[in-house]
Symmetry: C2
Subunit: 339 residues, 2 copies
């Protein structure tokens, strides 16, 4: 089998890798009809996050179950399943509390930019689509549920988006765009997307954004204050992970409002006193996608949402390096890879 | 009139001050039967917070209305009233959202360690006790509502304390102790107070603490994990404001749990990635005491709570400097001053 390996900054290779096998009785091995490149893959790709030697890549996946370990009871070969970038047993206290991405048995997935994948804790991690194999045209949306939609949904949920709310989304990557879609689903009245890229603005509007703000930093904050009669937004989704985006999010929020942050912060430091006087609620972390999967799958199968639209570039899997390059250069929002 | 002025580290003087007068039509002037020293007064007293020249002190107050400005309509001379350390018009969008301590007309009170006090925005800031003048023995508890109880209550509310919850309170000052009382009122099942002082442990237990942890820092975190089967607490109230106490709070909380912080953080800096992976909710700021005042006054007048017990030292107002000294040396939890 061949799979994707990152060797160093901007050095992605598609090369021979060992075929995944059942290693633990709780494992499953699945065959992927599609996989993709994540915005978070760009941190190590750009050298902004250190890697220790060649690193297999990919953590978003859907597919057909090929084989399961002897302890797996709820997942069966032949099923079409969706998992999360973080594995979970779905039974530990953190899972039961709805934070499966902090499961005591959590493993962060990797190696999913490949045709086959081993999934640990298959019973707790994977969700099968009801009604058998879904139509092929829904595969991109179901793949999105695995991380980028689940993360955008968590961003909206963690920012307490409620019917009638005024919402700001900082970041026009795929997560931010799906944060817009999620906020719309949760009944937000006004959704302000911060974006300077025309194609992304267009998709943001399609997903439900009512306003676009192109300014950033202090100018962006001023614009949000102008648009909200000086009050600030009820809910702000921080979908970038830099110091600037985090401060922009906090300062765009009304006192007592809610800020979520869902991308691993890189070089972010929060001053305690400044946060104190901002009076905001702050919540984030690795999205507990598993909590939302049944609901998201249903919305997709019923045609209520079409998150797969974030894939604006489709490539054969062996050209994965082109996908990274296009996303790095912001020519593509998100690259879908077909094995 | 004489009042309390801080001249520099450990230099508190009780000296001639101008008599307060109505300056704005929205003002009231009240006569204080009691006032007190706040834990937050100790920051500048200890030199840990800079002051620019001689600074009048005191921001906790109850009293009899002496006079009101011509625009004041709901507060009348002769009433017994309680206010918050932060003034509020109680009509602006932030007030209506429940965050009166971020009112667009907010002023942080000072000059309350004196026999008389001018209160701006009297209609929005002051709450009169129903049923006329309260019995004198309830004055300490009503005074506590003005800040230290209101702040402890906000700590419990912001940490999402719910019936059945496991709660940790970091800090055994008066706010922490009243955080214990508040968590008990909100139905917490288990309340772990972190304290190494016997008299404070005793009061914590009286207010509803079920467990006492004397360890701090990493050892304290380990103890909390031991007491919660390795899970961490549902709600943690950070009532100190230092880097150590904040990290202790965050690391004692379960993933998806809630941390509140209610004292102005001094030298606190939060690492974004560490906060991200802790998976906690974080909320704090200056307590919107005004939001809670009607409810707290009712609980006190009905004898449901007795927050005045935090005053374990009573002094004539002109000996205010002794009150500071006793609290600084942790000989007293909180000093009540009688003009």
């Amino acid at each position: 089998m061949q799979g994707t390996v990152l060797y160093g900054p901007r050095d992605v290779r598609f090369e021979d890798c060992p075929e995944p096998k059942i290693m633990e009785p709780t494992d499953a091995v699945i065959r992927l009809p599609a996989t993709c490149v994540c915005g978070s893959d760009l941190w190590p790709y750009r050298g902004a996050q250190e890697i220790k030697g060649p690193t297999p890549m990919g953590h978003e996946y859907v597919g057909f179950v090929e084989e399961v370990g002897r302890a797996v009871t709820s997942i069966k070969p032949g099923q079409f399943v969706i998992g999360s970038f973080a594995t979970s047993d779905n039974t530990c206290p953190h899972c039961q509390y709805g934070y499966q991405s902090s499961c005591v048995n959590r493993e962060f997935m990797t190696r999913a930019q490949a045709p086959f994948l081993r999934v640990p804790h298959a019973d707790g991690t994977l969700v099968a689509t009801p009604g058998g194999t879904p139509p092929d045209d829904l595969v991109p949306s179901l793949l999105a549920a695995s991380d980028v939609l689940g993360t955008g949904w968590f961003a909206a949920d963690a920012a307490n988006v409620k019917p009638g709310a005024t919402v700001v989304v900082v970041g026009d990557g795929a997560v931010g765009l799906l944060g817009v879609l999620s906020a719309r689903q949760m009944g937000a009245e006004r959704i302000i997307a911060m974006s300077r890229h025309e194609s992304r603005q267009k998709l943001a509007r399609e997903f439900g954004a009512t306003d676009i703000v192109t300014e950033r930093g202090d100018e962006g904050i001023t614009r949000i204050k102008d648009l909200t009669k000086g009050i600030g937004a009820d809910s702000v989704l921080e979908c970038v992970g830099t110091q600037e985006s985090m401060m922009q999010a906090i300062q765009s929020t009304r006192p007592g409002g809610f800020v979520s942050y869902v991308g691993v912060p890189h070089g972010v430091s929060l001053d305690g006193a400044q946060l104190f006087f901002s009076h905001v609620h702050l919540h984030g972390g690795p999205a507990p996608v598993r909590r939302y999967l049944p609901q998201l799958i249903e919305l997709i199968l019923n045609g209520k949402i079409n998150p797969g639209k974030v894939f604006d570039l489709v490539l054969p899997l062996d050209r994965v390096a082109e996908g990274y390059r296009a996303m790095d250069e912001r020519r593509a929002i998100k690259a879908l890879l077909r094995p």
